[in-house]
Amino acid sequence: MSQVLPSPARPTSRAFDVLEFLSRYGTLIALVLLIVFNLIFTRNFATWQTLNVNLTQVCTIVIVAVGMTMVIATGGIDLSVGSIMAIAGALAPMIFLGTLFPVGNIYLGVTLAIGIAVLVATLLGLFNGWLIAQFRIQPIVATLVLFIAGRGIAQVLTNGNLQVFKVPEFQWIGLGRPLGIPVQVIMMVIIVIAAAWMLRRTGFGRRILATGGNEKAAELSGIAVKRVKLAVYAISGFCAGLAGLVVIAINSASDANLVGLGMELDAIAAVAVGGTLLTGGKATIIGTLLGALTIQLVRYTLLANGVPDAAALVVKAAIIILAVWLQQQGRVR
C-alpha cells in the first residue's frame, strides 16, 4: 500500500549538524588534515619534487575517475576501464613502432598511434553502453565482459610480449614538462575542468543527472535515456584510453598484463570518497578529484613514514568505508 507522506522540509534551524557538514566537506577536510600532518611530520614534504611525484601518480586515476563519475552519475558502473587502458596501451606502440603497418614519419606515427588507440578505447566504451542501453544488461555484468575479455585481447595483440620503446615524441605525454609542469597534470586539469563545466552547465550534464536520479521521469520528460547511457560509457572508454597511453609513456614500456591493473577499483574508490552518489543522480567532478588526491596522499603519507604498501591498502579500504558511511548519514537527514 502506498503511503503518501508530504516530504518534510529539511530542519533549517538545527544549530549545527556535524554529520551533514562532514558528509559535504569530509573529503576536503581529510585532504587538508593530511597535508597539515605531512607538513609537520614528513620530511621534505613541502618540495616541488613531492608535489610532482604525487601529481604524476594520481593523474591517471583522476582521468579515469572523471569518466567513471559520469557513468556512476547515470546509476551505472564501468569495470572495464583497466582492460581498456591495457588495449590502448598495447595498440599505440604497435603503431608508432611500425609493427602493425609501416609508418615513415615518426610524428605521423605518434599522431596515428594516439588517435587510433583513443578511438578504439572510445568504441569499446560505446560497446559497453550498447549492451547496457539496448539489451538492458546490468552495467556491472555488461562491463564485466570487457573487464575479462579486454586484457585477453591486449595480450593477444602483443602475443603476450613486453613492448619496450624509447620514443621521446610519444613519451612527451608522460614525461614532458612544459613550464616545469608535467604534461599529464595539464591534461588532468583540462579534463577535470571540462567535465565539471559540462556536468553543471550543459544540457547533457543535466540529462546525465536526470537519468541517474530518476530514469522513468527522465524518459517521460523526453530525454533519450539510451543515448545518454551510450555517451557516458563512450566517455569513460575515452578517458581510460588516454590514461593507458600516459601509463605506457611514463614506463617506456607496455605490458598487457599490468597496464591499468586494478584501475577500475581505484577509480570507483575515488568517485565514492569524493561524494558522488553510487546510486546515481548526484555527482561532483571536483569531489572525485579530491577523493583521488586523498587516497593518493594517504598512501604517500604511510609510505613516506615507513608503513609498508600492504598496510596502506587496509587504510585505503577504511577511508572508503568511512566516506560511504558519511554519505549515507548525509542522505538520511
Binding site: 529539511r10 521521469a217 524518459e219 520528460s221
Partner: protein
C-alpha cells in the same frame, strides 16, 4: 455451512509514521465462503492483508482464526498456520520445477535426501484436483501465467491452507484462464476452504463471491452478502459518495468554463493495448477539461500512457488536429505538444536530487540550450516566473525538489509542462496525496489553464473532482470507454452508475 467465522479480525489499528492506515477495521470470513475485499487505492485492503499475514504488526485489535487468537510474525508462519497468500506478481521460483515450487519449504525426505518420487507424486495429486495435468518436472517458467497461478494455489493447498488470499488474481489472465480459476475457487469452496478475493472487476465479484467487505480510508464501511448489494451501492460506498444525498461543492472547481470551448485537438478511436486497454474512444477540445472516471484497473492510466507514447498501442488510431498521430516515445509526444503529469510523483515525476529549477526545465532543456549549453539567465527567468505564478513555496530555485511538500512538488511538475506551452496536458491524479489547501490551488489552476485554451485530460479517482471539474466525462470500465457525459448529465450519480453498470440512462453510449 458452519456459521462460526473462520477468521474474525476486529478493531484493527495500524499507523505508519503517525499516519493511520487502518482504524477500527474489521473483517469476518466464514468457513468455506468466497469473500470479496474491495476499496480504493489507500483504503487499507493491502495493509489489512499484510497485518493478517504477519508482514506488518498491528498496533491494536484482535485476530481470531478458527476461534483461537492468531498472531504471526511472517507470511511463512501464517502459511504454516493455514493462511496462504497468492500475490499479483506470483512469488514462485521460475527456474525450478513445478514440483519443487509446490513442495518448497516442506520437501519430502527419505534417509535425509530429497525424495523426488514422493514430491512429484504429491505435486501431480494436488494439481489433479484442479484438473491441471502438466509435467511437474519441467521448470515453472515454461508455463503460462494461469498455470503458474494454479501452481501457486496448489502450493497453498499443499500447506493445508484453510484460507487462501488472492490479490487481484485475474489481472493477468485471459477469459478462458479466468474461467479455470473460478472452477478452482469453486473446488476450494467445496472442500471447505475459504477465499479472500481482492479485485476491482465488479462483474467477477458478483460471479464468484458470496459476501463482500468494503473498506474506505482505513475503515470497514460495510459487510454484506453479494446478493443483497447492487453494483451502484457497492461503487458509491467504496468511493464514499452517497447517491441519495444532495451534492454540495467539495472541490475548488467552482464554475463551468469561462473560456470558449473550441475545436477538437485530439481524438482516439478504439485504442487497445496488450494489457488494461481493450477499446477506448474519446476526444479532447481546446479550452476544455475532459475527465476520465473509472475504478482502479479500468484502464485510465494505461490509456494516458498510450497517448503519451510511453507504451505502444496494439490497436486503434489517434489524431492530433486531424492528422494521424502515433508517438514512438514520450519525446515524440512532447514534440507534438503534449504534456503528462504522472500519477506517481515519486517514481515517475520528480528527480529528487535535482533542484526545483532543474526539475522544472527538464523537458524544456533543448529549448533553453544554445549549442548544448544551458542559458542560465533564460532558465532563471522562466523558473522565477512559474514559482511566482503558481505560488510554489520553496527557499529558492536551487532548493532540492525532494525537500518540498507534495503539493509544491506537484506544482513544479505542472510548471515543467506549462513551460513547454503545450496544447494538450494529461493530468493523472493531479491532487493525490497533497494537502487540502494546495489541492484547491491546483484545481483552480487547472481551470484557469483550460480557460486560456489548453485542452486538459484529467484522470481522477475522486469522483467529485471529475464531476465538478470536468466539462465532459468519459467513463472507463474494464478497459473500455463505456459512457460519455456532458453538461447537465455530469452528476456523481450518473458517473457512479456508468462505473457500476457500464452505462447510465442519461448518457450517450460512446459509439464506434
Amino acid at each position: 455451512m458452519d456459521d462460526a467465522p473462520l477468521l474474525a479480525m476486529s478493531g484493527i489499528e495500524k499507523r505508519f509514521a503517525g499516519i493511520p492506515a487502518l482504524s477500527q477495521a474489521s473483517l469476518l470470513v466464514r468457513q468455506g465462503e468466497v469473500h470479496a475485499l474491495i476499496g480504493q487505492n489507500g483504503a487499507g485492503k493491502s495493509t489489512m492483508i499484510k497485518v493478517l499475514t504477519g508482514y506488518h504488526r498491528k498496533d491494536a485489535g484482535e485476530i481470531l482464526f478458527e476461534g483461537k487468537p492468531f498472531e504471526v510474525s511472517s507470511p511463512q508462519q501464517a502459511q504454516a498456520r493455514g493462511i496462504s497468500t497468492i500475490y499479483q506478481e506470483i512469488n514462485l521460483v521460475p527456474l525450478r520445477s513445478v514440483a519443487e515450487n509446490i513442495c518448497l519449504g516442506r520437501e519430502a525426505r527419505r534417509f535425509g535426501l530429497l525424495d523426488w518420487g514422493a514430491m512429484h507424486a504429491e505435486a501431480e495429486r494436488l494439481l489433479a484436483r484442479f484438473k491441471v495435468r502438466i509435467d511437474v518436472r519441467r521448470p515453472l517458467m515454461d508455463f503460462n501465467t494461469a498455470t503458474q497461478q494454479m501452481v501457486a494455489i496448489a502450493r497453498a493447498i499443499g500447506f493445508s491452507a484453510r484460507l487462501v488470499i488472492m490479490d487481484e488474481p485475474t489481472s493477468s489472465l485471459d477469459d478462458q484462464e479466468v474461467r479455470v480459476l473460478f472452477d478452482v475457487i469453486g473446488q476450494l469452496k467445496a472442500d471447505g476452504v475459504s477465499v479472500i478475493f481482492v479485485s476491482h472487476k465488479l462483474d467477477e465479484l458478483y460471479q464468484v463471491c458470496d459476501r463482500v467487505t468494503i473498506m474506505r480510508d482505513g475503515r470497514t464501511v460495510r459487510t454484506a452478502a453479494m446478493a443483497e448489494i447492487d453494483k451502484l451501492t457497492l461503487v458509491s460506498q467504496m468511493l464514499g459518495r452517497d447517491v441519495s444525498k444532495a451534492e454540495g461543492h467539495a472541490t475548488a472547481f467552482t464554475d463551468r468554463p469561462a473560456g470558449k470551448i473550441g475545436d477538437t485537438v485530439f481524438s482516439a478511436r478504439h485504442l487497445a493495448a496488450r494489457q488494461g486497454v481493450a477499446d477506448v474512444t474519446f476526444d479532447l477540445r481546446t479550452g476544455e477539461i475532459v475527465g476520465f472516471a473509472g475504478l482502479l484497473g479500468a484502464g485510465r492510466t494505461e490509456t494516458a500512457r498510450l497517448v503519451f507514447g510511453v507504451d505502444q498501442p496494439r490497436g486503434g488510431t489517434m489524431q492530433i488536429v486531424g492528422t494521424p498521430y502515433a508517438p514512438a516515445a514520450p519525446s515524440a509526444a512532447i514534440a507534438a505538444g503534449l504534456g503528462f503529469v504522472t500519477e506517481d510523483r515519486k517514481t515517475e515525476g520528480i528527480v529528487p536530487e535535482l533542484s526545483v529549477a532543474e526539475n522544472m526545465t527538464l523537458a524544456l532543456l533543448p529549448r533553453i540550450s544554445r549549442n548544448g549549453v544551458v542559458d542560465e539567465k533564460q532558465q532563471r527567468d522562466i523558473v522565477a516566473r512559474f514559482i511566482k505564478d503558481l505560488g510554489i513555496k520553496c527557499s529558492g530555485p536551487n532548493q532540492k525538489i525532494r525537500e518540498l511538500s507534495g503539493g509544491n512538488q506537484q506544482k513544479v511538475l505542472l510548471a515543467r509542462w506549462l513551460a513547454m506551452q503545450p496544447r494538450l496536458l494529461i493530468l493523472d491524479e493531479p491532487t493525490r496525496g497533497i494537502d487540502v489547501g494546495a489541492k484547491g490551488e491546483i484545481q483552480r489552476l487547472i481551470r484557469r489553464l483550460a480557460d486560456q485554451g489548453l485542452a486538459v485530460l484529467m484522470i481522477s479517482s475522486e469522483i467529485e473532482e471529475v464531476a465538478e471539474g470536468a466539462d465532459r466525462v468519459f467513463v472507463l470500465r474494464e478497459g473500455r470507454s463505456v459512457a460519455e457525459l456532458s453538461g447537465e448529465a455530469i452528476t456523481e450519480t450518473n458517473i457512479l452508475a456508468a462505473m457500476a453498470h457500464g452505462h447510465s440512462s442519461q448518457t450517450q453510449e460512446v459509439h464506434a
